[in-house]
Each structure stands twice: as C-alpha cells, then as structure tokens.
Amino acid sequence: MSGVSPSALAEHAFLQGLPAEHTTRIAEAATAVSAPAGYRFFEEGGTAGQFWLIRSGHVALDLHLPGRPPLIVETIGAGSLIGLSWVAPPQEWQYGAQAIQPTTAFELDGAAVLALCDSDPVLGYQLSRRLLTVAAERPHATRIRMADLYAAPRRRVGTS
C-alpha cells in the first residue's frame, strides 16, 4: 500500500474532467492497492467503509449461497469502480467482492470522502454526478441481461 499522486488518480476514467484541486483533495483519501487473484475486497453484510477505482484486473460481485460457491452476479473491470454502499446508511455491503484476476486499484476511504463532500459542495456535486452515472449504468446493463436476448425465440407451430 502506498500514497497516491493526484496525477495518477486523475488518469482513472471515473475522475476524468475533475478539476485538479478536487483530485488533489481526493488523493489524500486514497491508497494504491495491488491484490492477487482470489483476494476478497469485502464480504456481503460487512461494514461498507471504502470504495475502489479499478485500474487493472477484474473483480466479481457475488452473493453467498449456503452449501455452494458464491454466485457471481456481475464482474467489474478496469476503468470502473466497486462499492456504492458506503454513500448512505446502513453502509453495509450488499454483495461480496473478490478479485478474479490480479487487480490493481485506488482504495478510497469512504468516511474521508464523505467529509470532503460535506466541506466542499462543489466537489461533492461532481462526485455525486459521477456516482449517479455509475449507479444508472449498472441497472441498465442488468435489465439488458434480464431481457435474456440470447434466449431461444418464442416457438410457434409450423415455422422454421
């Protein structure tokens, strides 16, 4: 784990377009992490105190099933982030997260970032907009998966 330079942080897609002064402040709440494959970022039900901006690698969000391996509901890759539950109470992880491949990320301290947002509404607004975009994209992708586009079309007698 090591400190993060604002310029390195600014390269991540999530923070693109953020004014340098904001990135500098966020960098103070960030640490660079490098996780091997199999590393568990968090457990379902745990306290949600951080979020990660994935730089490389591949992380699975999963649900615990008794007597079975965890069910992967989505995988997140480079350029995106994992962890949304830190934003608001009850600040409890809805899923677990485990690295499927060796993964590098910026880990951000949730409480510190919330404090930054409270003290700097403009920064808070910018971060909120970005989080909102991520939060909107996830259900969109999920709805497309639920549309089950690759399923066999409805059958009708006597047709090809």
């Binding site: 509404p121 403009v122 079309p153 409805r154 059958r155 009708r156 047709t159």
Partner: protein
C-alpha cells in the same frame, strides 16, 4: 417508337379480322388469352375465338366499386382494367418449383416441368404493358437467367391496345405509363368505332408482330384515320379520373415514415390484401413444402403472398409489422418509394385497380395528396419555428445567462472573500 417513323407504317384492320388475328396466333402455336365477360366482370381467360372478346361491354368504376355496363357501341376493348392482370399468367398464383424424392442413398431433386405452350396476350393496356416491364425487372431474365418466369416470358406475344377512354380511377398519365403503349408490344391496336365502321389502327412493334400480320388482312392506314386514332389516344391523357404528383414520390415516401396520415388510413384499411392481388406489379410470394403420405416424395410450391398478411414479416416469435398502420405504410412506401431503390423505377402504373378493388375504397392518389399536404405543413411549421427561435435567442440571451450562474457566483464570491481574508493563495 418515333412519331415520324410511325406515320405511313400504321395499318388498318377491320374488327371482323380479329378472328383472323386469333386464328393466326393459334396456328402459330400460341395459347391465346384475352378479356372475357364472366361472373359480372371482365376477366382474363383463354379465348376460343375472337367472339369471346367483350364486344359492347364497358365498366363503371369507383373506389370500392366495379360494374360492367352495356355500351352504346360494340367496342371490344371499351373497358379498363378488370380485377386481374397479366401476372395471373406470367407469375402464376400457384406454381410447383421442384420436387424431391427420397432414395436409398439420399435425395433426388427434380425441377418442375417447364410450361410448354407459349402464350399470346390480346388486349394488353399500356398500364399493364408497363407493369409487365416492371415485373420483368424484378423477376425476369436479367436478374434471374434461366428462371421459370424468364422462359415463360420469352415466348409471350403481346397485342397491346391503346386507351381512348380511361376509366374513372385511371391515372396512367401521371405514372408515365399511358394512355399510349410504350415499348414491348409485338402489335399495338387503337380501336375506332364510328360512322366509318369498327376497325383498328395497327402498329407493328417487332418482327414477330410483322410476321403474324402476314396472315391477317390489313390495308395501309390513310392519314385521316391515322390522325383520328392518334388524337383520340392523346386526348385520353386529359381524361384521367385521378392524378399523382409528377415527381418527388420517392422522397415523399422516404420522408413520411412517421406521418399521422398512416393512422388515418389504418383506421379504414382491413389489411385484406385485395390491392396486392389486383395490382399488376405486386410480386411477393411465399413457399409451401408439401409431402405426400408415404413421406418419400416432397414438393416445393410457390404461392402469391401479400405484405398485408400478418405472417409476412414473421421473425423470432412474431410479426415485425404487426399493426395495420405499418403494413399499409409498407405497401404504399414500397410501391411508390423504395421500389425505385430496389428496381430503378416506380412500382405503380396508374391502373387504378387497387382503388376499385379495395372493399373500403381507399384511394392511393388521395392518400398521396394527404401525405404531401402533411409534409408541406410540417415543413412550413419547421421554417416558422426556426425563425421564431432565432428571434427569441437574441431577446432572451441576458436572461438565460443570469439563470445559470447565481449559486456559483455566490460561492466563488464567498470563497474569494474568505481567501482574501485568510491571506492564503
């Protein structure tokens, strides 16, 4: 055929010699097909003799209405398009394409027999002659060498008949398909029934036409009769019951995808498909695979189909064009619009059959006029809106800027004050 070339080459034939024309065709081995009166309509059928022609019969046409009527004279071709067109014969409603036999080793495929006898068509109106040319473009030898259509078509002898009395629903002039026959005939007749008698001006359109006339008594046409016939045909151009805009139909159709008019016509259209059956250029077909009981012999048949049929656009569990609105739009925009993109011409010849045979009397010339009006209105509204917007932007500029900025200004102003106060950069 140039006007100059025609004067002096036209011939005159007495109506009584139609019998000789018919006989000559039969002797040459043709199956002769032409209009006959049957079941209160003038339909197409095999002519046993020239007497089968509908002498003295005319028609009365309107949207959704067709009646035959007795004429005051004995004209044989004094009627306009009936319910059928020559596609009945060139592109049959049902046709076997091939058959397959299951053998010990596998399958044996056999093409269906080629149609044997050549056909001669007597009474092809200019609109129908153009329709044949249009179907040739879609189905004929150039795109489909060796096809059944191509071989059927190659042997056809065409006796066209120019129009002097357009029907109430005709608009061939608008579509450039009449009232005078375009190229493609072997012989073209113009019927004259007056004090001088019942005769035909005959124009030769091909060597085959010239050869056939050798067995038919004709005399060179005198200038007066020739002139009378030609002016009767020319005059017919101004007697059309309907009209369509001269150009721009392709673009009008392309721009009308979301027109409100489609909802209007959809509230009337039964999607019965009569128009597609009666239309001389509609060519859509479907295929049917039939097996006999033992399961060793199967046949593939081709049948007429209609884009109004719900199954026509079936894909992955349902029709793509489910609503009547979309199906009517498909038919009209194809006929008048995308046909140009696909086959290089309009698909409409102005015969008016779709208007006559629509059970609710939908008139495509009326629909086109309405679409044109709607498009013009939309364009005018757009132009007005653009002008208004340009005016508004200037007036509202200061106001708009004010609305966007206040909070930021206040915050920055406050921050500036705080910074100034703390002495920090």
């Amino acid at each position: 055929m140039e006007e100059a070339g025609r004067a002096g080459t036209a011939l005159l034939m007495e109506a009584a010699s139609l019998a000789r024309l018919h006989a000559a065709l039969q002797n040459a081995g043709y199956r002769v097909i032409g209009p006959v009166v049957r079941d209160s309509a003038i339909i197409l059928d095999e002519l046993q003799s020239a007497d089968d022609l509908p002498f003295g019969w005319g028609v009365q046409l309107e949207p959704g209405g067709y009646r035959i009527r007795q004429r005051a004279d004995s004209a044989a071709f004094g009627h306009s398009a009936g319910p059928q067109s020559w596609k009945q014969y060139l592109h049959p409603p049902r046709e076997k394409m091939w058959s397959v036999r299951r053998t010990g080793d596998g399958l044996e495929v056999e093409a269906a027999d080629e149609p044997a006898q050549r056909m001669a068509f007597i009474g092809v109106r200019p609109c129908d002659l153009r329709a044949i040319a249009i179907q040739d473009e879609v189905l004929g030898a150039e795109r489909h060498p060796g096809s059944r259509y191509a071989s059927r078509r190659a042997g056809v002898f065409i006796v066209a008949v120019n129009c002097t009395e357009p029907g109430e629903t005709c608009f061939c002039t608008s579509m450039g398909a009449g009232p005078e026959a375009g190229p493609g005939y072997d012989l073209a007749l113009t019927e004259l029934v007056d004090d001088a008698g019942h005769r035909f001006l005959v124009e030769i359109g091909s060597p085959a036409g010239a050869d056939l006339l050798a067995d038919v008594p004709t005399t060179p046409a005198d200038d007066a009769t020739d002139g009378r016939a030609r002016s009767a045909v020319a005059a017919a151009a101004d007697l059309m019951g309907r009209s369509m805009p001269a150009d721009g139909l392709r673009d009008l159709m392309a721009g009308s995808t979301d027109a409100a008019r489609w909802d209007d016509v959809a509230s009337r259209c039964l999607t019965c498909g009569n128009c597609t059956m009666a239309c001389p250029t509609c060519f859509c077909t479907t295929v049917e695979d039939v097996t006999e009981l033992h399961g060793d012999h199967a046949e593939r048949w081709q049948l007429w189909d209609s884009c109004f049929d719900l199954d026509f656009s079936y894909l992955h569990g349902g029709p793509v064009r489910s609503s009547p609105r979309s199906r009517y739009r498909q038919w009209l925009t194809h006929k008048l619009g995308t046909w140009h993109d696909q086959f290089g011409s309009s698909g409409c010849v102005g015969c008016g059959r779709c208007i006559v045979w629509c059970p609710v009397g939908i008139d495509l010339t009326e629909e086109v006029a309405a679409l044109q009006a709607e498009a013009a209105q939309a364009q005018a509204a757009q132009a007005q809106a653009a002008q208004a917007q340009a005016g508004q932007v200037q007036a509202g500029q200061a106001q708009a800027v004010q609305v966007q900025v206040p909070d930021v200004q206040t915050r920055d102003a406050a921050a500036g004050q705080a910074e100034a106060g703390s002495g920090q950069p």
